[in-house]
Amino acid sequence: MAAGIVPKFVGSRVKRREDPRLISGNGTYVDDIKLPGMLAAVMLRSPYGHAKINSIDVEAAKKLPGVVAVLTGEDIRGKLPTLITAAPAQNVPYHPALAQDRVRFVGEAVAVAVAIDQYTAQDALDLIEVDYDPLPVITDPEKALEADAPVIHEQFGNNISTRAEVKSGEIDRAMREADRIIKFRLVNQRLAPVPMEPRGAVAQWNPGSEYLTLWSSTQGPHLLRSYLAEVLKLPEHRMRVIAPEVGGGFGCKLNVYAEEVMTAYLAMLLNKPVKWIERRRENLATTTHGRDLITYIEAPVKNDGTILGLKARFICDMGAYLQLLTPMVPGFAGMMMTGCYKVPAMAFEQLMVFTNKMAPDAYRGAGRPEACFIAERTMDMIALELNLDPAEIRRKNFIPKEAFPAQIASGLIYDSGDYEPALDLALKHIDYPKVRAEQAEGRKHGRYIGIGICSYVEICGIGPSPMLPPSMKGGGWESATIRMEPDSKVTVLTGVSPHGQGQETSFAQLVADELGIGIDDVTVVHGDTAIVQYGTGTFGSRGTSVGGAALMMAVQKLQAKMKKIASTMMEVPPDQLTFNNGTIAMASDLTKSIPLQRVVDASYGHKHPIPGIEPGLNEAGFYEPTACTFPFGTHACVVEVDADTGVVKFLRYVAVDDCGRIINPLLVEGQVHGGIAQGIAQALYEEVIYDENGQLLTATLMDYAVPKAEMLPHYELDSTVTPSPINPLGVKGVGEAGTIGSTPCVVSGVLDALKPFGIKNLDMPLKPEKIWRAIQAARKA
């Protein structure tokens, strides 16, 4: 913030400027795009988890009136290359946009019908005859490793995509010197991201100018353009990718999907605009899933509760093919699995395994929820084994405040942190000693109260470009352009692609304060590669910490230029000037000022040119972060388990989050609320289930348990503020924190409630039936 200026907007609860248009039906989503002569594409999908395709007969489908084209894998063989995996993996399978020779998961696209409307296209699919020979199916990643397991990609000889080991510090010594080694198995079940708006794409090809326009519900329009350019062999300057309103992403729209490629390809092939809109059942079956990680943990500890190291073996279910970042996600889990604790040595082995399922990929948190689950379950296990207080065991092992910036065993450097105040605050809110007393009293009368604690740290603001996979397009940097228009209103172009994060509001707050103008004088534009300069996109809670920093660079350049102009007009040195309330004023005496509009007129009118100053007011900033940011906090909950039904009831839910400096508390709370909801969903409700034949049993929202409002508690939020030294805004990121902190917190609480039954661990989701069965088994034993 410029000297002498009191922020008006930054730090205040400004309502989302996106919402009026969204809640009044004036948003434009992909399905709202309607072009003259537009055709509809619908995909025929495999009903088999694994089968050989003997033949596909599309003749009857092609003859149906209204059908324009029917394509199968054979029609694109040699014309469209494999879909792309940007993250490094040892065995990367060929992944055609339409299946060739074999199908490997239920829902894999086998053919596409294009017709005058989606109903006709769907009717055409019903006329396609596919002759399949079913093959043995494997859905359990651990069984997929067995010698006699059916092999999904024959060229690799087994089902292993990648085996990788990371080792740091003297882990063997830690294992030797430990008083005891605590061993257990954890499962992060498979989840479906379920954005409210499913995926969709509209493509338009102009054969005259050889120009492709693609509207897609994506989190990264520039990345998508670069990858599509590679697959379609088009130059990037003749491609425009537009992310219109995007109704939620959560990571699953940071990808390059077969349907996006096919929609573009079909528009070019047929010289007609083509639309493909995903249905909910397709969304649950063929949009990337998340998590699906089995972990075997070994934690060497001293009898006083000091943790000496952490060793883990990861079995990562990769599904049948690798999507854009599928192999990258488990690595994040390993690098962050030591959490907020002093763990001098660590080692993890990753086994990435193919199964007959959809590929998982980034899902809100992408590796950090898994990491936090490992760290926090480990702390609880230590507390349980040594009969120590779970809050104290955390406090004992915390990285101390003085250690920051702190390098952890995996090599990452935590920027800033102070973990105890957040823990203390959370414990104070739930009145920890009192609730422990209530718990003890309750147990005497058959009331099972549990207290869950989760102290998390996560990695945000990705980040230094070398941290991204070498083959990934774009970088870890972000971009912004700021333009003061001739009427002194401001247009901001940002390289991030917000889809719910609210940067149209928070970026306007930043700019309004910096330039001393009103928030309604600023418009933030994003998501169109023909308008916005190249950017990397929105993921990994990077929008504000990286995109906001780029914007600040652009703002500062604009300020410098305007101050130079004003300096000549006012005959005051530029460094004595500041922006104030629609003027440029002397910092020492704000009454000595000239209106901003006069400076703008001087620049655009250019009647009295100032030597060395170009006309116009348009500046860009490209910001490469030097490091990542590490938000943290403590979530605490009080739950009660009904021992007769297994139902979990929330008594309290407190979240204390530290996301650095807060630009808009309302946006932060919104992110935390949504995050906690998705995290609780993992702990208690949601699970993608395939049966042993590879059939997806959770293919509708009747079967996949996205929680309803009444299944979630009232959230009590608080925060501590530890600014990040990494970026000029001091922000850390908050898009995923709620998801990361809440899952272990709730599991911790439920298992604490079940402690009197001797139940040490239960795999998520902790559904009433599972809890009830565990209680029944414990009572019998």
């Binding site: 009903p47 088999y48 239920v106 034949n693 059939q695 997806l696 293919a699 509708t700 009747m702 079967d703």
Partner: protein, 176 residues
């Protein structure tokens, strides 16, 4: 999906066996069966119209009888598919005489289902299968009774549905 159960039919074992080996009569008893043709010795092809939850569709398939031990046992191998999914599996049928006028029909099978029919209907598939089995046995019971009485039983979707409901209600009273 695993199917297993037993039913008592009013007819001696030879008559039940004869019924269960007569494609023409069976085609009237199986709910939704629109066509049953003989493809070869002990091999049949059929078209069935079945709706489970929102997934309604026509399925075509083959049924093969193996391991035949008249008049008490055979194995069925089923392979069918439709626009809404597929079905593959096998099952056994055993007839045990119960006195001279009744027969216990024991059946057991393991059927693999796939496609939209599973994705949408999996919560109701078990009960839908039980309902279809119930309707079939209700129809078979009526057929055997009529045969014993020398009359012809009326067969149809609606009447067999009511027969099944009536059997369920009778079953309730028997239990109490």
């Amino acid at each position: 999906m695993k199917l297993q159960g037993e039913q008592i039919l009013p007819g001696n074992r030879d008559r039940v066996w004869a019924l269960f080996n007569d494609p023409e009569r069976l085609s009237r008893l199986v709910p939704g069966l629109e066509k049953l043709e003989i493809l070869g010795p002990n091999e049949f092809g059929g078209t069935m119209n079945v709706g489970i939850a929102a997934v309604k569709g026509v399925y075509t398939g083959k049924l093969k009888l193996e391991d035949i031990k008249a008049p008490e046992h055979y194995k069925m191998v089923v392979d069918g598919k439709g626009k809404q999914g597929f079905m593959r599996g096998s099952g056994t049928l055993d007839l045990v005489a119960k006195g001279s006028t009744e027969t216990i029909v024991k059946y057991a099978g393991d059927v693999q289902l796939g496609g939209p029919i599973v994705q949408v209907g999996q919560r109701v598939i078990d009960s839908a299968a039980k309902m279809l089995m119930g309707q079939f046995f209700a129809a078979a019971g009526a057929e055997l009774k009529a045969e014993a009485a020398g009359t012809v039983a009326r067969q149809g979707v609606t009447i067999n549905f009511f027969r099944w409901i009536m059997n369920l209600i009778r079953g309730l009273f028997r239990r109490s």
